[in-house]
């Protein structure tokens, strides 16, 4: 009996080892462990044994069977691994095959630059405000200390719709609207299209974009403007960017300052981009003229504030190396796809 069991075990193990596929293994399993399998038959044969030997023999058969079944299980696991490996191999594709690419869309560079600036100023507590692009003369000029026939109006050749209605020549009329509507503290930015009767060329466009900021509160100082714009310059052009304030004139600010930025190309050493000066013009700014505050119903003996305005085209052109402003308004997909 003992030899018989041993022989069967050897035979079954060999059968398992020789099975090359899960199906062959399954056949072998049925052959040995099925209803009419060899181990089953062996157990059935116990009846012909003397009763005294049966328990021991039965135990031996069951042990051998359990052990062999474990053998089969291990073999099954091996075969599964082998088969999966083969399947994976057979399913290999060329992952470098150039197809199925999704086209990436793009935002316009003006939107990208604008988003950056809005993020920055919203983070500093400013709120964005919109205003109409076709605007009353009163908001575009008069409330900003540019009465009719003021010579400064000539500097910005304005498109007129009617005697008192213009295409806004800057985003500043939004300031006037906000000051008339709200009480300080006021912290707003406003961005959008503005219009000036400039012939189209590489650096001029009759339509362009500005972002305007206004901060009004008690005891606002010109040095606060400097601090605010320094943060702005460093966020936009890197930690080593510095600003330089240069006296200027805008009817709606007093004192006024043109703000220059260390030339990003040469870091201030002087190059072709900055015409050797080491500085490039960044924006116009100043302390809100008390006359403007008063005209807009804000007590200038209590409140002061600053304002600044930046042209977005120039920032975008500089950032992306766009040398001709016309390209920004043309809509050629090959150019637009390059922005992210």
């Amino acid at each position: 009996m003992r030899e018989q069991i041993e022989k069967l075990r050897q035979e079954a193990r060999r059968a398992a080892d020789e099975a090359n596929t899960p199906a062959e293994l399954e056949n072998a399993r049925v052959h040995y462990f099925g209803k009419k399998g060899s181990f089953t038959l062996l157990l059935r044969g116990l009846g012909q044994m003397p009763p005294a030997e049966r328990p021991q023999a039965g135990q031996r058969i069951n042990e051998a069977r359990a052990e062999t079944e474990l053998w089969f299980d291990r073999r099954a696991a091996d075969l599964k691994i082998q088969e999966r490996a083969l399947k994976l191999k057979s399913e290999t594709i060329d992952v470098t095959e150039p197809r199925g690419a999704r086209k990436l869309g793009s935002l316009h560079p003006i939107s990208i630059v604008l988003n950056d600036l809005v993020d920055l100023f919203v983070g500093m507590g400013y709120e964005t405000v919109e205003g109409p692009e076709i605007e009353y003369d009163r908001y575009n000029f008069e409330l900003l200390n540019q009465p009719k026939n003021h010579p400064a109006r000539d500097a910005q050749d304005t498109f007129y719709i009617e005697d008192n209605i213009v295409l806004r020549s800057h985003t500043s009329p939004v300031q006037a609207r906000v000051m008339l509507e709200r009480k300080p503290p006021i912290r707003i930015i406003s961005a959008g299209r503005v219009y000036r009767a400039d012939e189209v060329d590489a650096t001029h466009s009759p339509v362009f974009h500005q972002l305007e900021g206004l901060y009004i509160d008690k005891r606002v100082r010109m040095s606060d403007l400097k601090g605010t714009l320094d943060i702005f310059a460093k966020r936009l052009y890197g930690a080593d960017a510095a600003t330089r304030f240069r006296p200027s004139f805008f009817p709606f600010t007093e004192p006024s300052a043109e703000v220059d930025l260390t030339c990003p190309a040469c870091k201030g050493g002087g190059c072709r981009v900055c015409k050797g000066t080491g500085w490039i013009e960044l924006l116009g700014s100043g302390m809100v003229n008390p006359k403007v505050l008063e005209m807009c119903g804000i007590d200038s003996s209590v409140y002061s504030g600053f304002a600044f305005g930046i042209g977005l085209e120039r920032v975008a052109m500089r950032r992306y190396g766009v040398s001709d402003m016309r390209w920004l308004f043309e809509g050629d997909a090959r150019l637009l796809s390059q922005f992210r």
Binding site: S106, E127, E133, I161, R193, G227, P247, F249, P255
Partner: protein, 805 residues
């Protein structure tokens, strides 16, 4: 404004290098756009005296000159016939440089050595107005002897540095050499030296020569006149021609040059009349009578209107006040008696007149920006002093204060003192400038200053018309103290949370959506030509054909504001096609400007309506109507809007391939294939697709996401059905009918196939996959069968759709 540095230096000591001068002026707000040295390009060009001339043996037009250039005589060949023995001429030596980088080398001309070149005026960039005779066709011949070998540049007046100042709009007082010198002195801490003005009169009384009657004191607050008798009209001396030339003006004759010189020096425009041509020797300052005409110095006939101020004589206009004189009374070689005018005219009046007539002169530019009446007399005295200096005539009068000048100035306009508080100024600028320093700075700028504790009283000088409040003083103080003293601080106010407006948030998410879909954002001009709106093919009377018109457009393309973004989009698509871009998906957001809304027409004096719009345009292999509709529907869905689709859109869409999307009865979008006629007019080939989404409507209809539906716990039952129906049946309608008939237990009904084939006899077959589910139980087949039957009879009844056999 250009000025020669030497002129400025007559009145101020510039004790720093040109570079430092430039940067310090710029940082004080006195912009300098450029510095030129016209003579710097010229080197090794010297005076030569022609000793002898002989003919060139091998040429009939070349001459061989022996020229003394100081110490040696050179042989130089020239082709100019105007040379003669004894002439003094400019000689470019071997190794010389001329304007434009041209270099001169020793060489041979037809076998004869030429050791340099004789120069013409134009080769040296010297105009005739600067050096009389320089314009001659040939070699420049000096008008008087000069030592051979001397540098020609000082002789020709091209040895100066010319500075181009960028004068700010509020500082008209700096549009002259005195103004710049005053600023320079304040910036550099040196002294402004105004020339001492003394006039030598030759007797007589101006009253015997002319009379002046100012009839419009508002437009002419001050008028002065002086007479010059026995005028000696002649060319001006070199120093004056050089100064005028450096400032960009042409020398004419000594009298006219004096008026221009005084303008450039003092900022006061002047005029000189030939008094014998002033009829009645009478000057009347009045408004033009309607239709009055005047022939101005530029030889043009001008028709005037009654709001224009003229200088008239007894019979009619003889000059346009502050802009240009009349041809009739122009100074000529024969002029015997001269009347100088120096006046102040109202800047608005000059501006409007100069605009209306399209005449911009040095004079009108200054009057527009503002000329102070207070300093008119000084300028006139300076002109008379120059007459003495140039010996250009006899100044009529017993003395400057007796019989020399007619001065009509009934209402002297004196600047008012400005009171300020030093502490408040410091607070405004955030820089600790001591009180005394503030006073010092203002005094350097010619303010009269008194300081009492922290209270500062400043009397602006007469020439400053731009200072009338504390903030103006603050600017003067900080700009001269130095903007570099501004140390960055941050406002001390309470923190307020910042935010993007709702409208911006919405546009941002619209743009992000389209970018993710592969769209490229574009920006087009907001104005278009009226023709481009007409090209759309809209029916007459459509509100989009009534755009806002611009009064002063740059041209046809900027004439009207766009009423829809579609023409710009079609232009962009056409451009991409013409550049062979195979496919594109573009989008733009912007305002469409409307003059009619809800049937109401915009009234005069009202703003037009601005509708925020999104426009999408696309062409290419992967885009069709359904792709475009899919984009728009998904976009609307992202704002919680489920829109109904209606066939048809505006006339510029393909009538069979366009749709309007509505929600809550409001139209939100229209989209489809562009009408081939419209496309053709925009030079578009093939099919292009456009969509317009009304962002204002989108904002109004957007709904926030509702609370979630819990996920189902019971299994769904799926049924597919193929329905055959006539080709004309709208499948959207069928789907809606299925949904309505099935009721709430229908979870979804989706179209998965449409089949058209000969076997269907012109009909189409649409296959829908339906999924049923109950929230609270597992549905039985019987329940679903009942619903299914109900659905079948409903679609048959509504659309004649039958289950496909």
């Amino acid at each position: 404004m250009k000025l020669p540095l030497s002129w400025i230096k007559e009145y101020v000591n510039i004790n720093v290098s040109a570079d430092e001068y430039r940067s310090r002026m710029i940082l004080a707000g006195d912009g300098i756009e450029g510095v030129e040295e016209p003579g710097a390009e010229i080197s090794n060009v010297v005076v030569g005296r022609i000793e002898s001339i002989r003919k060139h043996a091998n040429s009939d037009h070349l001459l061989i000159c022996r020229v003394d250039v100081g110490g040696e005589a050179l042989q130089i060949v020239t082709g100019a016939p105007n040379v003669f023995e004894g002439a003094y001429v400019p000689v470019a030596l071997h190794g010389a440089f001329l304007p434009g980088g041209k270099s001169i080398k020793r060489g041979k001309l037809r076998g004869e050595v030429s050791e340099g070149m004789l120069c013409s005026g134009s080769e040296l960039n010297v105009p005739d107005a600067l050096y009389p005779g320089a314009g001659v066709d040939g070699i420049l011949i000096f008008n008087e002897p000069h030592p051979p070998g001397a540098d020609v540049r000082p002789i020709l007046g091209i040895d100066d540095t010319i500075i181009d100042f960028e004068v700010l709009a509020n500082r008209p007082d700096c549009l002259c050499a005195w103004g710049i010198a005053r600023e320079s002195a304040a910036v550099l801490g040196t002294e402004f030296r105004k020339p001492e003005i003394k006039v030598k009169t030759s007797g007589g009384n101006i009253g015997d020569f002319a009379s002046v009657d100012v009839r419009d004191g508002a437009l002419c607050p001050r008028y002065t006149a002086c007479a010059i008798n026995n005028a000696r009209v002649a060319p001006s001396p070199m120093w004056m021609r050089k100064a005028l030339n450096g400032a960009g003006m042409r020398s004419i004759n000594n009298i006219v040059d004096i008026t221009n010189y005084v303008m450039l020096e003092t900022g006061h425009p002047m005029h000189a009349f030939d008094l014998d041509k002033v009829r009645g020797r009478r000057i009347i300052v009045r408004r033009a009578s309607p239709g009055e005409t005047l022939r101005t110095l530029d030889e043009k006939e001008r028709t005037l209107t009654c709001d224009m101020l003229v200088i008239a004589d007894a019979e009619g206009a003889t000059g346009l006040a502050g802009i240009m004189g009349g041809e009739e009374s122009e100074i000529t070689q024969d002029t015997k008696v001269i009347l100088f005018e120096c006046a102040a005219f109202d800047r608005t009046s000059v501006r409007l007149t100069s605009r209306a007539l399209g005449m911009r002169t040095e004079s009108s530019g200054r009057f527009e920006k503002g000329v102070t009446p207070e300093t008119v007399r000084t300028a006139m005295l300076r002109a008379c002093q120059l007459v003495n200096l140039l010996n250009a005539g006899d100044v009529v009068g017993e003395s400057p204060d007796n019989g020399m000048m007619i001065d009509l100035y009934p209402n002297p306009s004196l600047p008012a003192a400005v009171r300020a508080d030093c502490a408040r100024i410091r607070e405004r600028i955030g820089v600790d400038v001591p009180d005394e320093r503030m006073a010092e700075i203002l005094r350097a700028l010619h303010f009269g200053v008194s300081l009492d504790g922290g209270a500062l009283t400043a009397m602006p000088p007469a020439f400053r018309q731009d200072v009338d409040q504390e903030a103006d003083l603050a600017e003067e103080i900080i700009r001269l103290y130095g903007y570099h003293h501004l140390k960055p601080t941050l406002p001390i106010g309470a923190g307020i949370p910042g935010k993007r407006s709702e409208r911006m948030r919405m546009t941002d998410s619209v743009k992000a959506f389209l970018r993710a879909w592969g769209g490229n954002e574009t920006l087009a001009f907001s104005f278009v030509s009226p023709a481009s709106l007409e090209k759309l093919g809209l029916p007459a009377g459509d509100l989009r054909l009534s755009p806002v018109a611009i009064r002063n457009p740059l041209g046809e393309d900027t004439k009207v504001m766009r009423t829809t973004l579609v023409p710009s989009m079609l232009d962009a698509l056409a451009l991409n096609q013409s550049r062979k871009n195979e496919a594109c998906l573009l989008f733009e957001t912007g305002a469409a400007f409307e003059t009619i809304r809800g049937g109401a027409q915009k009234k005069e004096g009202e703003l037009p309506w601005e509708r925020q719009t999104l426009c999408i345009g696309a062409y290419g292999a992967s885009v069709d109507f359904y792709e475009m509709r899919g984009i728009v529907e998904a976009l609307l869905k992202s704002f919680g809007i489920a829109a109904a689709i209606e066939r048809g859109a505006d006339a510029y869409y393909h009538p069979g391939r366009s749709a309007r999307l509505t929600a809550s009865g409001q139209s939100v979008a229209q989209l489809g294939e562009a009408h081939p006629d419209t496309a053709e007019r925009f030079r578009i080939e093939g099919r292009v697709y456009i969509a317009e989404i009304d962002l204002d409507a989108l904002a109004a209809l957007a709904v926030p996401a509702p609370p979630i539906r819990e996920l189902p716990r019971h299994p769904a039952v799926s049924r597919d059905v193929a329905l055959t129906m006539d080709e004309s049946v709208p499948l959207g309608g069928v789907r809606d009918a299925i949904e309505n008939a099935c009721g709430p237990l229908l979870e979804s009904a989706s179209l998965f196939d449409v089949y058209r084939g000969a076997r269907l006899g012109g009909k189409k077959s649409a296959a829908f996959s339906l999924r049923f589910r109950a929230p609270d139980r597992t549905l039985t087949d019987e329940e679903v069968d009942k619903i299914f039957e109900r659905m079948l009879s409903s679609v048959e009844e509504q659309y004649g759709a039958e289950i496909r056999k």
